[in-house]
Amino acid sequence: MTLLARLAWRNVRRNRRRTGLTLLVIIAGTMALCLSGGFMAQTFQGLADAAIRGGLGHVQLMHPKALEGDEGQSLEFAVPDGEAVAAKLRQDPAVLEVLPRILFMGLLSNGPKSVAFLGTAVDPAREAKHMAVLDQVKDGAKGKGGEGSRWLSPDPAAREVLLGAGLARSLGVAVGGSLTLMSTTKDGALNAVDVEVVGLQDFGFKELNDRFLSVSLATAELLVDAGGARSRLSVVLKDPSKAKAEAPRLAQVAGANVAGSPWMDLASFYQQVKLLYLAIFGFMGLVLFLVVLLATANTLLMSVMERLREFGTLRAVGLQPGQLLALLQWEGAILGALGSFLGIVLTLLLRAGVNALHLQLPPPPGTSHGYELNIHAVPMVYLGVFLGLQLTLQLSALFPGLKAARLRIVEALRHV
């Protein structure tokens, strides 16, 4: 340990009450930033999971025109041989599963009443393994008319439909009821299929619950005569972190007229919430760093004013002005390191305690169900807060340090 570091450590320990108060400010700032960072991480992960397991997968493959524009609900710009492409991609070593989908729209009728819908046709067996559909059905069962809900049968002969909870409510239909799906085929002809309602789904958003329904690919084939074409191929990767890199490669593997996009580029809600949270976190962080800066600068300045004669003595015996500045920087560094370390330790303890309470948070704006508070431990946030506070303490030590370094020795020695 260098002479200055040792001297700084002794000085920090000298006035324990003042050091304690300074540490409290740093600890509070560290905890606020680390806890809010952990909460944000939980939110981001929740939103990412919702987007990926809600149907996007890690990579979406589709016709380039569909990626660009507004043809998402027709087969005009579908992957023509989607099933064959899906089978080919399943052989790729990076791919865990490929989930083909048909997106379609039309009218849903119970006889006297018809309602417009947006439909998704999926492979019931594969979808249930990799997507959150079972959760959606389980939650749907809790809603009005949702009792007895189950997921779609993998039997190709089954003509079944799962309705968004709001869509079922608007038609006054419950599980076990019969409805008619009407849509146009790939060639533009009007077609209809009778289906049985086997369950209600809760997508978490009212707008989706009011419009969305799910059927099997076999039912959709019958309705829209897709002939093997698929609107989307949702790819589940073995390593989700490689989504960005794998998207263009998998599109190339899929063949001509297929474009690929990683899930985050398609999850606009995720991106918007992330930006909003980062802005809030950034602003809060700025305020907290400012509070720590002012509080610690004040403490260090007071400490300098009390030690003027001592500094005069140190300068008299040969301490250079730069070394005096370094001494104050060391004191700031020790306070910052100690405060951040204690703050992180307390954050981890508080996080464990709060998470153990299994607190339920209210539904976020636009969604229909709440979630359990589970603050994440994010090492990068902790490291960032630690380094940020070190920088803050260095800044706060700068002014008192410069003041000490610029002292006239004879004046400092006269100070009582």
Binding site: L3, L7, R10, N11, R13, R14, R309, E310, G312, T313, L314, R315, A316, V317, G318, L319, Q320, P321, Q323, R408, I409, V410, L413
Partner: protein
């Protein structure tokens, strides 16, 4: 060793002009010189100028023949560290360092290793009779013991000149006498020079040379055989 040539340093004190005016004096190697005079006569100001703690308005300070008072602060600081030692009236020990660490401080600033600095500091404290107080903090030492630590701190780096401002003012006669005897002995043993500001007659009595100051002016020089 030390030559002060026609030095002037003026400042305002309570609306009146104070300081030192046109003073010249010399202190030879191995001599104990005393700046004598009443309070406000300019003793401390002159000592600070000689110790390169302040800069003169006019005149110059020469150390071992080299003009040093106009050097940049970095070089003056280095000269203080390597050639000068200071003993202050109020001891001015660093309160968070124990006796041996206080004495080690200038040695470490000189770049000596911890072990070497500790060895030299212990020897310096032994020289002033504080072998059994190495690890006492200043607050745990008496005034006399603190002053001896301050002297050890000034002596340990082996300076050429030690500047002492009223070194006996905080001590009773029982401690003041041995302190001056120690200074005299060091002059003889090491060829070390002392410039001491004091109005204590017992200090003045031990001096090889006495410079009498009054109202910032040198009014007399008394050289003892």
């Amino acid at each position: 060793m030390l030559d002060i040539r026609n030095i002037t340093r003026a400042y305002e004190l309570g609306g009146e002009k104070a300081g030192v005016f046109g003073i010249s004096l010399s202190v030879a190697a191995g001599k104990l010189a005393v700046l004598a005079g009443p309070s406000g006569s300019g003793k401390t100001t002159l000592l600070q100028l000689a110790g390169l703690l302040d800069s003169p308005d006019e005149g110059e300070v020469r150390l071992e023949g080299e003009a040093v008072s106009a050097l940049p602060e970095r070089q003056r600081c280095d000269l203080r560290l390597r050639k000068l030692g200071f003993v202050f009236q109020a001891f001015n020990l660093v309160p968070v360092l124990d006796a041996v660490e206080n004495v080690m401080l200038p040695l470490q600033l000189q770049g000596r290793s911890d072990s070497e600095a500790r060895k030299l500091a212990a020897a310096a404290l032994d020289r002033v009779g504080l072998t059994d107080r190495l690890h006492h903090l200043p607050g745990q030492l008496s005034g006399g013991q603190q002053q001896r630590v301050a002297i050890a701190r000034a002596l340990a780096p082996e300076p050429k000149l030690v500047l002492a401002d009223e070194p006996t003012a905080s001590l009773d006669h029982a401690h003041g006498g041995p302190l001056m005897a120690l200074m005299k002995a060091l002059c003889a043993e090491r060829g070390l020079s002392f410039l001491v500001a004091s109005h204590d007659p017992s200090v003045i009595a031990t001096a090889d040379v006495v410079f009498r100051l009054s109202d910032g002016l040198l009014t007399g020089t008394e050289v003892r055989p």
